[in-house]
């Protein structure tokens, strides 16, 4: 796949510089340097081949700004990095939002954080930042906001139109799972258009990463995605390990797998409670939290905290697990298998629930690459794409497991996929405990102060919501030069305006609930 794509690029595209890169070191296969004139044709090439836009970010090298487009393919792993250099004084780049819908938001994000202007973008307004911002936050030098951009700052004012009224769903609304705001343009009970407004919980993680050493940043990922804290923790740790070339002992890999899967179950349990709560049934909430507390007990015994775990270290773990942990886990697996049967009786076969979710919020499989969404959302459309399988990390390559898929991609399928995933996670934990090797749980000779070699790295893990990727640029100092988080909920949420269009308000709530949104993760 990689060789063929490289050949195709060389044959079809002129004026681009493409080369193959060591995947083991960098985390991507192809590096392509595009020029302003050729960028759109390069992106069109990838769109034709069925690639999705995994991420679009910007790095400020002071002399120039570099836009980084990361592509990947759902069918076969082939990560490609396309870069475009733009001048720092008045940065202008061509838009790709007409090719990839998701680029709408990525470009808006880059515009507000770096001041890059995208030619041809239809609505280049502020997405995250508040009105009082006076400079571009992620630029290395202080660059004040230009007068043109200042006009865009307070731009979110829906226009008055006849026969339409606006509803603010959020920022304080129980079913937005936090502080998401969606402005709905309504026609009676039907939604004409939905426009998410983000940034109510933007906590500057990417800015913080540039101010802290790699170790000091360790607690942050857990605060980005608190229901699945360990998985984000792992994404950060594994990316740095890849960058520094640290080998992790096998026991640590297995323990990482076990704890991550337990965390995945607890996150899905939280989601079940919240989802059913959105639909008006509060009873499953109580049951789900009962099970969740059991997992928290197990994880607390190993990690020391209940929610925002910071358990993994570069080259290993914070501490080893003991027999008590294994006993508790085994007990929990037995209990959870029984409880899953109960959930099936309580929820899955409930007529009211089925009628609320079946056939609503259908995401077509052909639409998926345009948005670049991932996780249970795309698996529900029948696409067996799981980073744990295609790009194995930790000990997932040594454990056999299946990937659950849906058929239609509606809310019911998303629910079923997650329920099935919990069962599979239990099996993974069971198998991993059986195979758990003895030995050290920390790599030897990991320096206290990490100074990775110059270069960049991309590493993705399958978090509870989809592909979580970390893109790190290192300049040989002990702090990352740039750390970019590719978060799944961001691209998953992008599908919401399309799915909510012309549906009933109550159905849109069901769709939003089925996405399993975590707002700090979207806002970062």
């Amino acid at each position: 796949m990689v060789k063929k794509t490289l050949e195709d690029i060389k044959n079809t595209l002129q004026d681009v510089d493409a080369s193959e890169i060591s995947y083991a070191e960098r985390g991507y296969h192809l590096a392509i340097e595009a020029q302003k004139g050729s960028l759109v044709s390069v992106v069109e090439f990838f769109a034709d081949k069925g690639f999705y836009l995994a991420d679009l970010c910007c790095v400020d090298y002071v002399e120039y700004l570099e836009l980084v487009y990361l592509f990947n393919n759902f069918k076969e792993l082939c990560r490609a990095k396309v870069t475009l250099k733009v001048e720092p004084d008045k940065p202008v780049a061509p838009t790709i939002s007409h090719i990839y819908t998701m680029a709408h938001w990525y470009e808006r994000e880059i515009h507000e954080f770096f001041g890059v202007y995208f030619e041809g973008h239809q609505k280049l307004t502020y997405l995250f930042l508040h009105n009082g911002i006076d400079c571009y936050p992620l630029r290395k030098n202080r660059v004040p906001v230009t007068d043109d951009d200042k006009k865009l700052l307070d731009s979110f004012k829906p226009e008055e139109e006849e026969d339409a009224f606006f509803i603010n769903l959020g920022p304080q609304h129980p079913s937005t799972h936090g502080v998401l705001r969606v402005v709905l343009k309504m026609d009676g009970e039907y939604i004409l258009s939905a426009e998410p407004v983000l940034g109510y919980l933007h906590r500057m993680h990417e800015k913080m990463a540039e101010n802290r050493s790699y170790q000091q940043f360790l607690p942050n990922p857990a605060r980005m995605d608190y229901p699945g804290a360990l998985l984000f923790n792992l994404a950060h740790v594994a990316a740095v390990e890849k960058l520094c070339g640290i080998e992790v002992p096998e026991r640590a890999q297995y323990i990482r797998t076990i704890t991550c899967e337990l965390n995945r179950i607890s996150s899905h349990l939280l989601w079940i409670g919240a989802f059913l709560g959105d639909l008006g049934g509060l009873t499953p909430f109580l049951y789900a939290f009962d099970d969740r507390e059991n997992i928290l007990d197990i994880l607390e015994s190993a990690t020391g905290s209940r929610l925002t775990y910071c358990y993994f270290r570069f080259g290993g773990l914070y501490n080893d697990i003991d027999d008590n942990f294994i006993d508790m886990t085994k007990k929990f697996i037995k209990r959870m298998h029984e409880r899953l049967g109960m959930y099936e009786k309580l929820i899955t076969k409930n007529v009211i629930f089925i009628n609320r979710v079946r056939g609503i919020g259908i995401l077509e499989q052909s639409e998926v690459p345009k948005y670049g969404c991932s996780g249970p959302i795309i698996r529900s459309t029948g696409m067996p794409f799981d980073i744990r399988k295609v790009e194995p990390y930790a000990a997932y390559d040594k454990i056999d497991f299946e990937i659950p898929t849906g058929k239609t991609g509606d809310n019911m399928d998303r629910y079923m996929v997650r329920m099935k995933e919990m069962e599979i996670s239990l099996n993974i934990v069971e198998k991993a405990i059986e195979k758990l090797p003895s030995g050290p749980f920390n790599a030897e000779k990991v320096p206290k102060k990490l100074k990775p070699p110059k270069g960049d790295v991309y590493h993705a893990v399958e978090s509870t919501r989809g592909e979580t990727g970390v893109y790190i640029v290192s300049d040989e100092s002990d702090k990352p030069y740039r750390m970019r988080w590719r978060v799944p909920s961001f691209s998953n949420l992008m599908t919401f305006p399309a799915l909510a269009q012309r549906t009933l308000l109550a159905d849109a709530i069901a769709t939003m609930g089925s996405f399993d949104l975590v707002i700090p993760e979207i806002d970062r």
């Binding site: 508040h130 009082g132 920022p171």
Partner: protein, 170 residues
């Protein structure tokens, strides 16, 4: 904020009935209705507190209301950003008096880990926006912490503590 409802409403009334007031406060302290206002990580712990194991209902504060008009306790559970600040103040002003605020977690107390040099988006402490009655430190605080905070608030309202305190042994 200066013109908000808070200042006017909490002024002492002209005529005070001490006994009636005492009884009312006892009733208020033991049936606090918190607002469903989850901001970030701490909100999950707040939810855990409301669920079966920790059961906030034991202290009469289990009726989470989605509307500020029906609630008298705001638990600020998470980071308040500058974009969120006006909303938070509006919500506070919409609550009927008497009302109380609990700042749950380090972010609500002081900005927590997100108060660093050069930060541009976080309000460093919710007490800069609204008056806070009880502070609960932790990142996030455990549910037991929130329950203790609730008892502290009860103590503040009634003047007496209903539940015994645990003596520190270290």
């Amino acid at each position: 904020m200066g013109k908000g409802g808070f200042y006017l409403e909490t002024k002492d009334p002209i005529i005070k009935f001490a006994v009636v007031e005492k009884i009312l406060n006892l009733a208020r302290a033991n049936s606090l209705w918190p607002m469903t206002f989850g901001l970030a990580c701490c909100a999950i712990e707040m939810m855990s507190t409301a669920m079966a194991r920790f059961d906030i209902d034991r202290f009469g504060a289990g009726i989470f209301r989605a509307s500020p008009r029906q609630s008298d306790l705001m638990i600020v559970s998470g980071t308040v950003t500058k974009k969120m600040a006006p909303t938070l103040v509006t919500l506070y002003e919409q609550m009927p008096s008497p009302k109380w605020v609990i700042a749950m977690g380090n972010c609500a107390i002081s900005g927590g880990p997100f108060a660093f040099e050069g930060q541009y988006n976080v309000v460093e402490g919710v007490d800069l926006l609204v008056p806070v009655d009880v502070y609960i430190p932790g990142c996030p605080p455990r549910p037991e912490g929130l329950l203790e905070g609730l008892m502290k608030l009860e103590e503040k309202i009634t003047g007496t503590r209903r539940f015994p305190t645990v003596e520190q042994k270290w």
